[in-house]
Symmetry: C7
Amino acid sequence: MFRNQYDTDVTVWSPQGRLHQVEYAMEAVKQGSACLGLTSKTHAVLCALKRSPNELGSYQEKIMKIDDHMGISIAGLTADARMLAKYMRTEALNHKYVYGTQLQANRLATDLADMHQRCTQSYVRRPYGVGMLIAAHDATGPHLMETSPSGNYFEYVAMAIGARSQSAKTYLEKHYQDFPAASVDDLIKHGLKALSGCITGDKELDVASVSVAIVGAGQAFEEVQGARLQAFLDAIEVEGDAAAPAPAGEPEAPADVPAPMDEGIA
Amino acid sequence: MFRNQYDTDVTVWSPQGRLHQVEYAMEAVKQGSACLGLTSKTHAVLCALKRSPNELGSYQEKIMKIDDHMGISIAGLTADARMLAKYMRTEALNHKYVYGTQLQANRLATDLADMHQRCTQSYVRRPYGVGMLIAAHDATGPHLMETSPSGNYFEYVAMAIGARSQSAKTYLEKHYQDFPAASVDDLIKHGLKALSGCITGDKELDVASVSVAIVGAGQAFEEVQGARLQAFLDAIEVEGDAAAPAPAGEPEAPADVPAPMDEGIA
Amino acid sequence: MFRNQYDTDVTVWSPQGRLHQVEYAMEAVKQGSACLGLTSKTHAVLCALKRSPNELGSYQEKIMKIDDHMGISIAGLTADARMLAKYMRTEALNHKYVYGTQLQANRLATDLADMHQRCTQSYVRRPYGVGMLIAAHDATGPHLMETSPSGNYFEYVAMAIGARSQSAKTYLEKHYQDFPAASVDDLIKHGLKALSGCITGDKELDVASVSVAIVGAGQAFEEVQGARLQAFLDAIEVEGDAAAPAPAGEPEAPADVPAPMDEGIA
Amino acid sequence: MFRNQYDTDVTVWSPQGRLHQVEYAMEAVKQGSACLGLTSKTHAVLCALKRSPNELGSYQEKIMKIDDHMGISIAGLTADARMLAKYMRTEALNHKYVYGTQLQANRLATDLADMHQRCTQSYVRRPYGVGMLIAAHDATGPHLMETSPSGNYFEYVAMAIGARSQSAKTYLEKHYQDFPAASVDDLIKHGLKALSGCITGDKELDVASVSVAIVGAGQAFEEVQGARLQAFLDAIEVEGDAAAPAPAGEPEAPADVPAPMDEGIA
Amino acid sequence: MFRNQYDTDVTVWSPQGRLHQVEYAMEAVKQGSACLGLTSKTHAVLCALKRSPNELGSYQEKIMKIDDHMGISIAGLTADARMLAKYMRTEALNHKYVYGTQLQANRLATDLADMHQRCTQSYVRRPYGVGMLIAAHDATGPHLMETSPSGNYFEYVAMAIGARSQSAKTYLEKHYQDFPAASVDDLIKHGLKALSGCITGDKELDVASVSVAIVGAGQAFEEVQGARLQAFLDAIEVEGDAAAPAPAGEPEAPADVPAPMDEGIA
Amino acid sequence: MFRNQYDTDVTVWSPQGRLHQVEYAMEAVKQGSACLGLTSKTHAVLCALKRSPNELGSYQEKIMKIDDHMGISIAGLTADARMLAKYMRTEALNHKYVYGTQLQANRLATDLADMHQRCTQSYVRRPYGVGMLIAAHDATGPHLMETSPSGNYFEYVAMAIGARSQSAKTYLEKHYQDFPAASVDDLIKHGLKALSGCITGDKELDVASVSVAIVGAGQAFEEVQGARLQAFLDAIEVEGDAAAPAPAGEPEAPADVPAPMDEGIA
Amino acid sequence: MFRNQYDTDVTVWSPQGRLHQVEYAMEAVKQGSACLGLTSKTHAVLCALKRSPNELGSYQEKIMKIDDHMGISIAGLTADARMLAKYMRTEALNHKYVYGTQLQANRLATDLADMHQRCTQSYVRRPYGVGMLIAAHDATGPHLMETSPSGNYFEYVAMAIGARSQSAKTYLEKHYQDFPAASVDDLIKHGLKALSGCITGDKELDVASVSVAIVGAGQAFEEVQGARLQAFLDAIEVEGDAAAPAPAGEPEAPADVPAPMDEGIA
């Protein structure tokens, strides 16, 4: 308990050279429902588990469009994500207006990461509690990037974040060599199979609780919905071979944490 | 008691990735008297329990009109709600003036949620201690939305918030399939039946302590009052089938909390 | 003693969803000497107990005129009340100058309550430590409103605040059905009878220690003083039937609290 | 010792609804050497005990002229008093320049009290540690007012503040019925007799340690000095009948408090 | 140890009505080497003990000229004194430029004291840790004034401040009746005799460690140095009758305090 | 544990004259993966170990180009490094635009170090948690400089920073006399041999995990990649003579520190 | 340990009238490597010990030129020194530009000391952790001045600061009577002999680890380097008579303090 004195203010370093507040904000990401992304040579695909507060409410959106060539999937505080998405849309729009071209995905990811970084060095604002996967297709092809509360960002072939995402990561690492040449349909199927490892034991993926979106060469960012999505869900059930549920040893959120839905974590 | 050091300032994350101050503000919502909303394909209805400081005083208003096509019902700190309602009215008015059209309900809910979010990331202001149900009817039909101190918002078919609202939620979940096709009158009756589960044991719904408001296609936002409201109350008594009072196991506000009325919680 | 950590700064929520600083400011109101108000269909009356620092000093004013159609009676920190009264007078004056009409009582009460609310959400200023009863007569008839440090306000038929006000409230609840039709003189007598329950054991109401003011249809806000007030005091002594002194069980200010007069609490 | 946590910052309320910092500032007033004021129907008189740091230094001024029709006597922090007196002189001068008339005493007292109040609600400045008696004569006759660190002010017939002032107050309460009709000379004698109860045991009032000032109808604010003052001192010795020294039971400053002279308390 | 919580911030009052931070700043004055001043009817004289960091360094200046008619001697933090002296010189210069006359000593002392007072009421700056003796000669004759960290100032016939100054004060009190009629030479001799009581046991006043300055009618502010100063030192040795060294009972700086020279206390 | 009270805020000195927050920020540098630089008379070379979050992600960039004649390698918080690199690029660009010449490496290093220094004296921002090696070639020849969170910078012939860099330093100290006359190829080989001492036991340097960059006379800043890099790796394997792995006694990051990759430390 | 509560914020006085934060900053000066200065009637000389982080790095500069007639040697935080040197250069340049003459050394030292003082009275910035020796030659001849974190400054014939400087001071005190008439060469030799007492046991002064600079009549500020410096080192070895190493009783930096080089202390 003795290290606590270094973790109550983000501007304070611990003797071990760590910023505890940033690490804690990353816990909020781990409590969000899982989302993942994967890329072929031509397309990028996002898949996410949606949560609903209860039967009467709509599902919380997990995938948001930023521009025709770009979209995000989030895990963590929805309200923080909404603020950042708003910023991204404005940036993309401004770029299009000023330069007449689409904002490069890499450039926007850097700007976003810088915004995160500033909150880790400022006295005035807590770090954002949300992680993002950015799927984009621009002149340099399809991209999948992850940003985190620490102000870091990475480019990936495929990546999963959020609760129980370890299972999906294992699936993706096993199959990622197939992705570059995969068709869009295969990419989506791989994504859904990976995602099926992130749901709790007795549930199943269904049209209501899953979001899928694609973007790619000649394909504007678009969510795959309804019957089209159902077809994919049917297909992977036939194919089998989905990701195994999270193994017992995976570090889950502790049992006494209240259902994060109440606090706006999606 | 050891986690306390993370909950005295809203800008501080706990090691579990939680913002305690936001959670505590949500407690104020749970202590407000219950209100609920439900929607058919054409209308949205709000019902709320009103509290009176004592026999000599007027009842605290629980339902406020924002614009002709929109109104809210609140649970939590009345003073905070008043500030936010004022903001909403100004926004709605400005939109009408600038664009000549009614502000879309969804847009206003986002703005409101952003205002909440800012208070969860700022050093300077505590989070607002009020939850809202927004009932609106616009070009996209009737809507029911909930905003919370966390800066989150959801759209619902039907929803109840505030003290002892679990009982109402149970009723709504049981009957919600009847709502889309229901007439306005039936919607109101469903609302009142659900609400009757939120009052304490020996009391009964009456004209003075209940607020009902409707908005819908061809129906500007309007409170249902007096004889018209009495008729509905009489009708549901005849029909029976109201929500059961809150079960023993429901997490109520602890007994030693003072009557929240004194502190401006409605 | 464990909840203390949440009550040293007004912007901090306690785990129970309470704002302790606001509650403590309301204690200052409870320590002020009692004042009350009551309304008929045509008039509103304010009655208050005045305190004097000692024999050589003037009594502290408890009733202040805001405008021709409006006045207030206060309980709590006099210095805070003076600042707020100054604000109210300016608002009323500005409204008259700009619109040529009298500021509606309801509107001013809202503005005042908003000013209170801001102090409950700000880092920079403590909440005001004063409660007010506003008596007004405008186009919509006579009004009696109460504002409190929490930023809440209510409209009442009759209300009493301050030390030992429970006894007055009991009297008012017992007789309030007579008020709407009562003459101004009867209203004043009711007010004085109710007020007589708020003085400590062996003292009696007299011209020096009681303030009475009226406002109504065709009656500008005016204090009732001297012989006219004495006549009322004589009358209620003849009539008897005054409020019983505060019962033993009433929550008084603890005995070890110093005489609040020294600290500017009136 | 448990209430301490509420008294380290002026903007914080204690659970009993008290502002401890304001109360502590009032302790500084109680440690200043005594001063008093009294009024007849035509004049106001100020009397004060002066302290000298030692034989080599001038006595600390306790009475300051504000304008031709107004002066003050102070108890508490001299440096704070000097700042406030400067403010009062500027206000009086500005008023004379702008309106061509003398600033009404009551008006200035309110402004001064408001300045005190602001320091009790602000984070940035401690409350002023000085009490004042204002003697003035304006169109409404002679006035004696007291302001205190709490932002409160009172009008008095006669009043004494500062160390051992209880004895003077007792004298004034015993004789105040003689004041309205008293001549200026009698007023001064009453003041000096009352003041003689505030000096410690074996000392006596003398020309060096006493300040007396008068203001009234046709009498600009003026200090009574030298032979004229000596005559009054001789007279009261002959007359006897002075105030008794402070009784044993009076709450004095605790013995272990250092001589406040060193800290600028006069 | 229980009063500590009130002494860590200058804006906080202790329950005894004291400002501990101001008192602590005055300790820095008591640790500075002694300086004193004395006045006749025509002249004012300053005498001070200088300290040298070691044999290789110049002595720290203890007397500073402000204007032709005014100078100061200081005890306490040299760096603070330098800032204040700079302010005084600017004020004196501006006054001469704007009004064509010399700034009255009294006026400057007030300004300086106000600057001290502001630091005792502000959150942002600690109180200045320096005491000053101001010697001046203006239209109203010679003056000796003292300012202190508390924002207080006094006029004196003669005064000594700093370490072991009690001995000098005793000498001055014994002889002050001779000062008004004394010649400048006698004044200086009195000053040096008083000062000789402030040096530690076995040392003696010499030209290097003593500063003397005079100002008066027809005498611009000027330091007495070299042979002229030596003559005075020789004279007082012949005359004898110097102040006794500080008696055992005098409150000295505690033995464990490091040599204040290192911290810039002169 | 007693010195902790001096290390929670960067503006506070410890009694030993240390700034603990700066020291802790330097711990973040020690946790970054190793990078090193070395210079001959004509060229400067940077070598760095890259980390990858997992198999699916790209490696974190450790070497960044600033201008044609300058680049950096970093150890510590990537997000902080990105902000500083952005600043450096802007400075270099501005200089070229304004003066038409390349910004001297020394000048930029000073600016950067000043930026670090400001964060060690400011209340508002934590010190940057990143160390940098700057390799540049300008009119004065090749340069290697190191900047650190303390605001210090040094010029070196060769230097290594980051985790397990002690082994590389030992290699560099052993061979540095060969560097001035070495060819670029030899410099790179020396760099890779030194770097091979910084990897954990059973791993080996490969094209994916190593970054190499050169700058020099007639050689713009350029990364050595792919086959060209593989050739160097093959060559050093043949030559042998690489740095020994870190000795057991080297102060490593404690075992219980989580993999720093998660927190954006590269 | 009980006095700690007064040393965590520079604006807070301790009960003994001390500013602990200033004292702690002065500890950083004591940990810097030694430097010294000495003056004849015509010249001023600075000598300093340089430290190198390790064999591969350049030595940290200890002597910096400010202008043609002025230079400094520093002990303490290098980064702080760099900021202050930059300020001094700008001031000197501005003065030359505006007045066409060289800035007087005394004037610059005052400005610098004022900058230090401000950091001892401000909330926002820690005191600078560096001491300086200023060597200058202007119209009033050669000067040697010392500034310290406390905002104090002194003029010296000769002075040494930094780690183990006591030994050098002892040497200087023994020989300072020879300095005024000494030739530049003799001054340098005296300086080097004094400096040799500040190195740890078994090391020796050599060209790499010693900096020497001179300024004087007809001699612009210039470092003595290479062969010329070696000649002096050879000469003093021949002459012997150097300062004795620091005696055992000297207060050294405690053994457990890490090598200050890492933290930028030079």
